[in-house]
């Protein structure tokens, strides 16, 4: 089988499952170790380098890292990565002296950004240190975009938002609040060197059923309603509320309703639970607040009596499923569920009524602008998209990564360089060996179970909309949770010609992930592994021929818990534990800016 090239950064990147799962490639094991050592501010800065908003994401990230977590493959729950991020954010000290220096002398390039959400502000965060002048147009009175208007304050307090957004705005961003951009053509006429559109997906989907217009006063579109609540325009709702849809917005809507005076809130789902879109933990939080989730009810009509909404009519459904897919559905009967208000949370779309269709910016057949997946440029040079505005609704962490990539493109565009020539990620390996049996990381496997987040008691949390429900991890919970991290970035690095084939590593490996066997085609070698290969997606490491028998060392990365015992047992140090530090280039790494006073941030070293 082909010898594994460990100098390719992608190989070890994939081994760090959380970092591989994170769209912004946050160096999770590194910041968890820093938290373990009490270096909260350092941990925060490691986060900020990739995900820009650690305090915000530590509360409301969709956590693609957690399902990917290696811990989950040892028969346990994943490490509470997101909660630990919040620990770093909550306990950090002032970071103002660690933020990039903004050159007083500008480079003469002006960038206009539409919408003050996570994507646009990430672009500003990356470009301001290079001397760019960034002007952000925001329709609302406060920055933050969907993070402020759609995520309720009991999940994401306004102070956290204000502080992290402020770090970027205070770099000297020209933030124009209350200024809705009504015409892209007009904006382009103002002569900006580049325009970035990060206006989100602000249009909630409509449910056009009988009675919709008659009952309009009590039928709300989820995301608009949440925005109205966030800005204090809506302060109450009826006693009995129905939420249509079971996505994460629906969870925010039902929990917000409870805080505005509703007593009986039902979330109406068309399908069974296995088909819900909401994250499992958001469902759990809603159910903890006694929200009833009603399955198999398909909306049929709004019931309006005497000009007022009194309920909703549903078809009760029955489904036949096969292999997790619905193959047949039947209507059982019809029911009317009385209610005072209905909130529609069945999805959202991006909408661009303000972009003229004759300015060289192409739209596809779904009326969505055509955007390049790598450069984030539209078909009109100099106009870039990012966040939900680019490819439809995704999560904050995706928008942040879009922002980083768009910033590189904008930088290249303004410097007259090719956008396609982007720096590749780099890998730096450094041994973590300190002595005979000492490693510069906590290598012992800790069997502790995942810590549970404590919540504000039910009786208290409904008193104010802004009471944050999650209390954050205390010191004891943090101390246990950090040890659950398996340090996947401390890699097992093998040197073929040192191996004497004594089998010591094979015997000590607690998961039998190592095998020394005769070389052959991969499909054949796979059948001879000590433990069966469970995840074909996870890489197999193969060494070159070993000195004494010409057999090869094979490692199934899927099972390794990075305990370092193979390296500890190895008499010739053929195995070594080395920290892999991956660097994903940002705008600042892409060549010198024209402004002399800016400089790249010092890069972290693996050792």
């Amino acid at each position: 089988m082909e010898r594994t090239d460990i100098s390719n950064p992608a190989y070890f990147h994939q081994v760090v499952d959380c970092q591989w799962g994170c769209p912004a490639h946050t160096d999770v094991p590194e910041y968890i170790r820093l938290i373990a050592q009490g270096h909260f501010t350092d941990a925060y800065m490691v986060n900020r380098e990739s995900n820009v908003f650690p305090g915000i994401l530590g509360r409301v990230c969709d956590r693609p890292c957690e399902p990917a977590c290696r811990r989950g493959r040892t028969g346990q729950k994943p490490v509470a990565i997101c909660r630990l991020k919040r620990v770093a954010a909550d306990h950090r000290q002032d970071v103002s002296d660690r933020l990039p220096v903004i050159p007083s002398e500008k480079n003469g390039k002006r960038i206009a950004l539409v919408g003050a959400g996570c994507a646009s502000l990430t672009v500003c965060n990356d470009l301001m240190p290079l001397g760019y002048e960034c002007t952000v147009f925001e329709a609302l009175d406060k920055p933050g975009g969907l993070m402020r208007s759609n995520i309720p304050a009991f999940r994401l307090p306004a102070e956290v938002l204000d502080e992290e957004l402020g770090m970027i705005v205070d770099m000297g961003v020209d933030l124009r609040l209350g200024q809705r951009v009504d015409s892209l053509a007009a904006l382009l006429d103002e002569g900006y060197d580049a325009v970035f559109i990060g206006s989100g997906a602000p249009k909630g989907k409509e449910l056009d059923l009988p009675g919709r217009t008659e009952g309009d006063a009590n039928i709300h579109i989820g995301i608009s309603w949440l925005e109205s609540v966030a800005f204090g325009h809506t302060k109450e709702i009826g006693k009995r509320v129905l939420i249509i849809g079971v996505g994460n917005t629906a969870m925010d809507c039902c929990r917000t309703s409870l805080r505005l005076g509703a007593a009986d809130v039902k979330v109406m789902a068309r399908k069974p639970r296995d088909f819900f879109k909401a994250s499992e933990w958001e469902l759990e939080d809603a159910e903890e607040e006694n929200v009833e989730i009603v399955i198999n009810h398909s909306p049929k009509a709004f019931v309006v009596e005497g000009g007022k909404l009194t309920g909703m009519r549903f078809d009760r459904m029955e489904y036949t499923t096969e292999d997790g897919r619905i193959v047949d559905q039947r209507i059982v009967d019809e029911v009317v569920i009385p209610c005072d208000d209905v909130v529609l949370a069945i999805g959202q779309e991006n909408a661009f009524p303000w972009i003229e269709r004759d300015i060289g910016l192409e739209f596809d057949r779904w009326d969505v602008p055509v955007v390049d997946r790598t450069t984030f440029e539209s078909t009109r040079p100099g106009v870039f998209f990012g966040g939900d505005a680019a490819f439809g609704p995704e999560n904050i962490i995706w928008a942040v990564e879009h922002g980083h990539q768009a910033a590189i493109s904008i930088h290249k565009h303004c410097q007259g360089e090719s956008m396609a020539e982007r720096l590749p990620p780099t890998l730096n390996l450094g041994s973590r060996k300190m002595g005979m049996h000492e490693w510069a990381y906590s290598n012992d496997f800790d069997p502790a179970a995942r810590r549970k987040m404590e919540h504000v008691p039910l009786l208290e949390r409904f008193k104010a909309l802004s009471t944050e429900v999650e209390l954050g991890f205390d010191a004891e919970q943090t101390a246990v949770e950090v040890e659950r991290c398996l340090n996947c970035d401390i890699q097992t690095v093998f040197t073929d010609d040192l191996c004497i084939e004594c089998d010591a590593c094979l015997d000590i490996c607690p998961t039998q992930c190592l095998t020394i066997t005769a070389d052959g085609p991969e499909e054949d070698v796979e059948t001879r592994l000590k433990a069966p290969r469970l995840e074909p997606e996870q890489p197999l490491f193969a060494s070159g021929p070993l000195k004494q028998t010409a057999r090869i060392m094979v490692k199934d990365e899927n099972l390794c818990v990075h305990c370092g015992l193979c390296a500890e047992r190895c008499p010739t140090a053929a195995w070594d534990m080395q920290k892999s530090l991956l660097h994903f280039p940002k705008a600042i790494d892409h060549g010198p800016a024209t402004c002399p006073t800016s400089r790249p941030l010092p890069q972290r070293k693996a050792g």
């Binding site: 028969g75 496997f445 607690p510 500890e568 008499p571």
Partner: protein, 351 residues
Amino acid sequence: MTYIPKPRIDLPTDRINAIGLRQRDYEGVLSTLCAGCGHDSITAAIVQAFWELAIEPHQVAKLSGIGCSSKTPAYFISGAHGFNSVHGRMPSVATGALAGNRDLTCIAVSGDGDSLSIGFGQFGHVVRRNLNMLYIIENNGVYGLTKGQFSASADPGSKAKKGQVNQMQAIDPVATAIALGGSFAARGFSGDRDQLVPLIKAGVRHRGCAVIDVVSPCVTFNDHEGSTKSYAYTRKMSHKAVEADLVPPAEEITVSYADGDAVRVRLHDGSTVLLRKNDPAYDPTDRSTALQYLEKHRARGEVVTGLMFLDETLPEMHDVFGTTSAPLAETGYEALVPGKEALAKLQKKMR
């Protein structure tokens, strides 16, 4: 050695043996031997063999003398009975243990010092007594615990770590066991698990004293150029004479061999040992050809491995002594201590 114990991680896909145990259940405590020691590898082979044979841990007695090798019973089958005895005197203790409970599966681990120097006499007698046990000699040619002096199994001409050349003749435990009338003599190599595990399994199932000499390089004092017990030398000069497979009673032997290539030996428990020969002229059931073969290859500096001699017909200790078929441990107080009258009756018979 390692400083942290091997963590217990039970994966949903772990294999279970016939009595519902995982391989981890046959492991012992943290090894304190040098990293890369051949002994640890033999320990792992023992763990694998006992797990595959699905032997109940509490039905196992593990015994040893003194030395690096004799530490290893602590590192496998924690649930077994264990006795770490006096230097070279393990065979006596094993004889006592099996006299008391003949149903135990007895595994003894010794070294070249423990069995070929201080305990050479005990080794010889337990072999001719044909005690029903597996006797593993972890053979590295040096006294590791006392910093690497040549042992009785060091080959003449072999170099020590600091350059001295051994001048004395080596004792070959396999040839010695055959010459003393042993019923099972084999040699393995700690670096060849695929060969060693079947040897251990056959040795456990054999009724009688199964001696397995396992070349087990000492990474600290005897794994250098010029040593004849290093990983590199053993791999280069290894001559696999007879491969052995143990086929359990219930299983059918499906593979067929040409006549002369394989010999079948049926064991007392109904299982079969399949001896696959690489040299058709060799007969692993004949004592004199076995000795000749060993001598011929020794002269060439080769390390002959495999199940070199097997004779299932020789009587084991209990057969010779005509002891009761039920283990004394389960016989009960009444029968074991029949009282004053019974003693008087016995004495009368002797007058």
